[in-house]
C-alpha cells in the first residue's frame, strides 16, 4: 500500500469534500422543505392537492435518483419550446435530483408520522378551541416530528451517501475529485479506499449525532 498518491491529491480531495458537505446540507434542507410541503398537501381536505402530492411522491420515490439527475441535466433542455430556458448548471440539476427523490421519501415519512399521532390528541386540541392550523402547529406536528425523526435521520444519511451521484454529471464533489485525480494518471486503490473510509466515518458520525438528537427530543418518560 502506498498512500503517497493520496497525500499528493489531498488538497484536491479536501476541496471536493467541502462541496460534498455543501450539497448534503442544501439537499437535506431542500428535501425537508419538499417533505413538509408535500405532507401538508397530502392531509389537505381538498382532493386535488392530495392527488397531486400522492402522484408526485409515488413517482419520485419509485424511480432511481441517478436517472432523475440525468433527466434534469440532459432531457429537460430538450423540452420543445421552453427547453432553452431549462438548461440547469450541473450542480443545480444534480442537487435538485437528490432533493426530489429524498423529498418524496420525506413526504411519506411525515404523512405516516402525522397519522401515527393518536386521534384523541386532535380531538383534545379541538375541544380546547384551537383552529386547524393551531392544532397542527402546537399539537400534531411536534409529536409527529418525534415519531418520524429516526426515519427522517436515515433519509439524511441516505442523501449524504447519494451525493456521490453528482459526480456522474461532472460535478467535482469528493468522489468527483477522486475520479479526476485518477484520470490524471494516479490510478490507485489507495485513493478509493481513503475516499470510502471518509464516507463511512462521516456516515457513522452523522448517525451518532442523529441518535443524540432523538434522545434529546424524546418525551420525558414518567
Amino acid at each position: 500500500m502506498n498512500f503517497e498518491i493520496v497525500r499528493a491529491a489531498a488538497p484536491q480531495l479536501a476541496h471536493g469534500f467541502v462541496l460534498t458537505v455543501e450539497i448534503a446540507v442544501c439537499g437535506s434542507i431542500g428535501a425537508l422543505a419538499v417533505g413538509v410541503a408535500g405532507a401538508a398537501l397530502r392531509i389537505s381536505p381538498a382532493p386535488w392537492p392530495r392527488r397531486f402530492a400522492t402522484a408526485f411522491t409515488e413517482f419520485f420515490r419509485n424511480t432511481p435518483p441517478l436517472v432523475q439527475i440525468y433527466f434534469l441535466a440532459f432531457a429537460l433542455p430538450k423540452m420543445p419550446g421552453i427547453g432553452s430556458h431549462l438548461i440547469l448548471p450541473a450542480i443545480v440539476a444534480a442537487t435538485l435530483g437528490l432533493v426530489l427523490h429524498q423529498g418524496a421519501i420525506n413526504v411519506e415519512i411525515l404523512r405516516a408520522s402525522l397519522q401515527a399521532v393518536p386521534e384523541g390528541q386532535r380531538e383534545a386540541a379541538e375541544a380546547l378551541g384551537l383552529g386547524r392550523l393551531d392544532q397542527l402547529r402546537s399539537v400534531l406536528v411536534p409529536q409527529a416530528v418525534r415519531i418520524g425523526l429516526p426515519a427522517l435521520g436515515n433519509n439524511v444519511i441516505s442523501l449524504f451517501k447519494n451525493t456521490t451521484l453528482v459526480a456522474s454529471i461532472g460535478v467535482l464533489d469528493l468522489f468527483g475529485e477522486a475520479n479526476d485525480a485518477i484520470a490524471q494518471g494516479l490510478v490507485s486503490a489507495e485513493l478509493f479506499i481513503t475516499v470510502g473510509v471518509v464516507y463511512v466515518v462521516c456516515v457513522t458520525i452523522l448517525g451518532t449525532l442523529l441518535r443524540l438528537l432523538e434522545k434529546r427530543l424524546a418525551f420525558a418518560r414518567a
Binding site: Q68, F74, L165, I182, F192, G196
Partner: protein
C-alpha cells in the same frame, strides 16, 4: 421520432440486463442476510461485534464508491472483476448488509417464550430455530424483503457508471448518438423503473398491513 423508435430494442435489452443484475443481487443478498442475520441473533458478543463492524461498513459506504472499489481497485490486488460481476457483488454486499438487519430484527422480535417452549419439548438448538422461530420470523421478514428488491432495482442503475449495459446505460448510449431524443428516451427510462418499482412497493405495503 424514427431515431427514438430505433432506440427501443436497445432499451429493451438494457431492461433485461437490469432485471438479471437485480435478481442475482437479490438472491445473493438474501443468502448473505440469512447467514449473517442468524449468526448475529444467536452468537455471543465476541462473534457478533466483528460481524456488526463489517455490516456497518457496507451500510455506510456509498454504493457507487463500493462499485468503483470492486471494479477499479481490486485489480490492483490481483483480483480481476468484470463490469457485471463488480456491479452484482457491490449490490449484493450493500443489500446483504441491509438484509442481515431484517433477518436479525425479525428473529429477535419473536418472543423468547417460543424458544423456551421449544426447549421444554426437548427440541435441539437447530430444531428450535428451524421449526419454531424461523417460520414465525419469515412472515415479518417478507414486507421489508420485498421493499429491499425495489431498492436493489433502483440502485442497480448505478452500474451504468461502470459501463454495465443496463437500462440507464442503454439510454445514455442512444442519447450520445442523437442528443435530440434525450427527452423521450429518459422519460421512457423513468417510466420503466416506475412501472417495475411501484407495484413492488405497493405489494410491500399491503403485506405489511396484512401480516402485522
Amino acid at each position: 421520432m424514427h431515431s427514438y423508435l430505433s432506440a427501443l430494442p436497445g432499451l429493451g435489452r438494457g431492461l433485461g440486463t437490469t432485471f438479471t443484475i437485480a435478481l442475482l443481487a437479490m438472491a445473493l443478498a438474501v443468502a448473505i442476510g440469512f447467514a449473517a442475520g442468524i449468526i448475529r441473533a444467536q452468537a455471543p458478543r465476541a462473534i457478533d461485534l466483528p460481524i456488526l463492524v463489517v455490516i456497518e461498513f457496507f451500510r455506510g459506504i456509498p454504493l457507487l464508491v463500493l462499485m468503483y472499489l470492486l471494479f477499479f481497485a481490486l485489480p490492483g490486488f490481483g483480483i480481476r472483476t468484470s463490469n457485471n460481476g463488480a456491479a452484482i457483488a457491490a449490490l449484493a454486499l450493500y443489500a446483504g448488509a441491509l438484509a442481515s438487519e431484517i433477518v436479525r430484527g425479525a428473529l429477535v422480535s419473536i418472543p423468547f417464550g417460543q424458544s423456551e417452549a421449544g426447549a421444554a419439548l426437548a427440541l435441539g438448538r437447530f430444531a428450535i430455530l428451524r421449526d419454531v422461530v424461523l417460520p414465525q420470523a419469515l412472515r415479518r421478514m417478507l414486507p421489508p424483503f420485498v421493499a429491499l428488491f425495489a431498492l436493489i432495482v433502483e440502485s442497480s442503475s448505478l452500474s451504468a457508471l461502470i459501463d454495465v449495459t443496463d437500462l440507464l446505460q442503454a439510454a445514455r448510449q442512444n442519447v450520445e448518438r442523437d442528443t435530440d431524443i434525450a427527452l423521450p428516451v429518459y422519460l421512457t427510462v423513468l417510466v420503466a423503473y416506475f412501472v417495475i418499482n411501484y407495484p413492488v412497493s405497493l405489494l410491500s405495503q399491503r403485506l405489511e398491513k396484512r401480516l402485522t
